[in-house]
């Protein structure tokens, strides 16, 4: 794998992670538990999709085959999507949505922070803007997870169940694929093991304040990074891509 190929893959993955999570969050728009949360989740979805657009545009440039952000988002199948499985799981209840966002945000923030010192100027520029946004995302998801954990009996139960259920999907975040390994060597990407330490500290701090238990590390799911997904991504993409697939090559 050349450095260019590795960078294409890594940038694509960051875009896919954000796009898929942004899609899941956007499903709350109009259906949130309170109007303020419709607004907050939409805001976060907007940030994530905004970042996606920058990342996929850059990925297209790296690839050099003339693919645009929309070609990459709308015309790749599920086996070509490289996101981690964590972000594609259905939105379920609000505890699950919040817990999933928290587990991702706690990874996403140190990733973006590290990227502000990347050797790659483009990623550095994208991260410069993203850090502020993701800081807010993590604050939002942490605050709600704490409210749920330390709220009512029911919210505590739902939050704990969500964290337990999601835990097996967190391992994949920190297992580098060939591309990520290569790029960590020359300072383009941070080392995922370094991110893990920071993630772990954030998780401990917030779970503790939320009076929630950190699950034991057991068997971890994986495969998303290689394009092997849960059954949930396919239907999501089918919905997202329907117009582009039904009317190929048309301007919208």
């Amino acid at each position: 794998m050349t450095r260019e190929e590795a960078l294409f893959r890594a940038v694509l993955r960051m875009g896919d992670n954000n796009l898929v999570l942004g899609h899941r969050l956007s499903e709350w728009c109009g259906h949130g538990p309170v109007l303020e949360e419709d607004i907050a989740q939409t805001n976060i979805a907007l940030d994530l999709i905004g970042q996606t657009r920058n990342l996929l545009t850059y990925a297209g440039e790296l690839e050099g085959k003339g693919r645009s952000e929309d070609d990459l988002a709308y015309l790749r199948g599920e086996r070509e999507y490289l996101n981690v499985q964590l972000v594609e799981l259905p939105k379920a209840d609000y505890a699950f949505t919040i817990a999933r966002s928290f587990l991702y945000d706690a990874f996403h923030l140190p990733l973006q922070q590290a990227l502000t010192e990347s050797r790659d100027e483009h990623l550095k520029a994208i991260a410069g803007k993203a850090v502020k946004e993701v800081t807010y995302h993590l604050r939002h998801s942490s605050e709600w997870l704490i409210r749920f954990g330390d709220g009512t009996e029911e919210s505590h139960r739902r939050a704990q169940e969500a964290v337990d259920e999601l835990w097996r999907y967190t391992g994949e975040l920190f297992v580098p694929d060939e591309a990520e390994e290569l790029l960590a060597k020359d300072g383009t990407l941070p080392k995922l093991t370094d991110l893990k330490a920071e993630w772990s500290a954030t998780v401990d701090r917030v779970l503790n304040e939320a009076t929630l238990k950190r699950p034991a590390d057991g068997w971890m799911a994986g495969g998303g990074k290689k394009g092997v997904h849960t059954e949930h991504l396919g239907p999501m993409l089918a919905e997202m891509q329907i117009l582009q697939r039904t009317f190929p090559g048309v301007e919208w």
């Binding site: 259906h31 538990p33 607004i39 657009r53 609000y94 704490i146 029911e154 997202m240 048309v250 919208w252």
Partner: protein, 312 residues
């Protein structure tokens, strides 16, 4: 002070174009009318998120998705401003939401029509937001201060809504024959319901005269509707679309368009709950509210615990 004296003074203030503020004396009927109108307006913003939200996950490009998300988010914000404005009149947001969910309060009937194709998202921005803007611009001068100020904020965001809708249709009309047919079909379905948004004809509008006197409303339903038609027909021509009204014709004498007859039977049926989506809209709102109950309870319980800790 005697009540008729208070009323005379109140009317004098209204006539002098002074804004009425929450602490000012006001006739009970004025308060009631405002609560009804503002809450109905707030509910419309919130229910209105549903037909457009229906296409967020299917928006055909990342740019369109972003714009649509931002637009629907604005509508949620409008709902918030308006609930706050209503609360200055002594009702709580919960009470108002209960009235919506129990079916006691109304919302704009336009949102009981379905969004079947992507072109409908264009048509809603162009026609529905376009019609709403006419009403809302008028309301920036309404006599009740908090309502007028909420409208000023809202109007700033609305013109973007109409523009994005028109731009969607423009792209479709410049596109393939299939896309253009999609746009025409959307106009065919949304034209008459959009005209109904202005409400019953003046002669059949029970609350209108009093609302005009109190300067809650400042232009009649029929006046606003006519301005909307005159303006929109040109925009349709520019798109190359045909307005679905065989009687539509420019009148040199009046300098306005003559046009056909609204199907008031349909209008009344939709208000009565028999529009294509009334049941779906209410079901979606009730579900969101019921599913969110434990979330709101948790937030309250947590806030209570924190307050206790602080006090200790």
């Amino acid at each position: 002070m005697a009540k008729d004296q208070q009323e005379a003074l109140f009317q004098q203030r209204v006539d002098d174009e002074q804004k009425i503020e929450p602490r000012d004396w006001m006739p009970d009927e004025y308060r009631k009318t405002l609560i009804r109108q503002i809450s109905q307006h707030a509910h419309s913003e919130v229910v209105g998120m549903l037909p457009e939200g229906n296409w967020i996950t299917r928006a055909p490009s990342l740019r369109r998705k972003t714009v649509l998300l931002a637009k629907v988010q604005d509508e949620a914000g409008h709902g918030l401003y308006l609930y706050s404005a209503a609360e200055t009149l002594g009702v709580s947001r919960e009470q108002l939401i209960d009235q919506l969910l129990s079916g006691k309060a109304k919302y704009s009937s336009i949102f009981n029509y379905p969004t079947l194709t992507w072109a409908d998202i264009g048509a809603i921005g162009w026609l529905v937001d376009g019609a709403a803007i006419m009403n809302q611009v008028m309301l920036t001068r309404t006599s009740y201060g908090p309502y007028a100020r909420a409208m000023v904020r809202i109007c700033k965001e609305e013109s973007f809504h109409q523009r994005q809708g028109y731009e969607i249709l423009m792209t479709l009309c410049k596109g393939t024959p299939e896309q253009k047919a999609m746009a025409q079909d959307a106009l065919d379905r949304w034209w008459w319901p959009s005209l109904m948004m202005f409400g019953p004809s003046d002669k059949d509008s029970p609350h209108s005269a009093q609302s005009m006197k109190w300067k809650i409303k400042r232009q009649s339903n029929d006046e606003l509707r006519q301005v909307f038609i005159d303006r929109t027909v040109h925009q349709a021509e520019y798109l190359g679309l045909k307005v679905p009204d065989p009687k539509l014709k420019w009148n040199e004498q009046t300098q306005h368009y003559d046009w056909g007859e609204i199907d008031w039977t349909e209008f009344n049926e939709v208000i009565r709950g028999n529009g294509p989506c009334n049941r779906d809209r209410m079901a979606a709102r009730r579900k969101a509210h019921a599913d969110g109950a434990w979330v709101r309870e948790a937030a309250l319980a947590y806030a209570g615990k924190q307050a206790k800790k602080k006090a200790a």
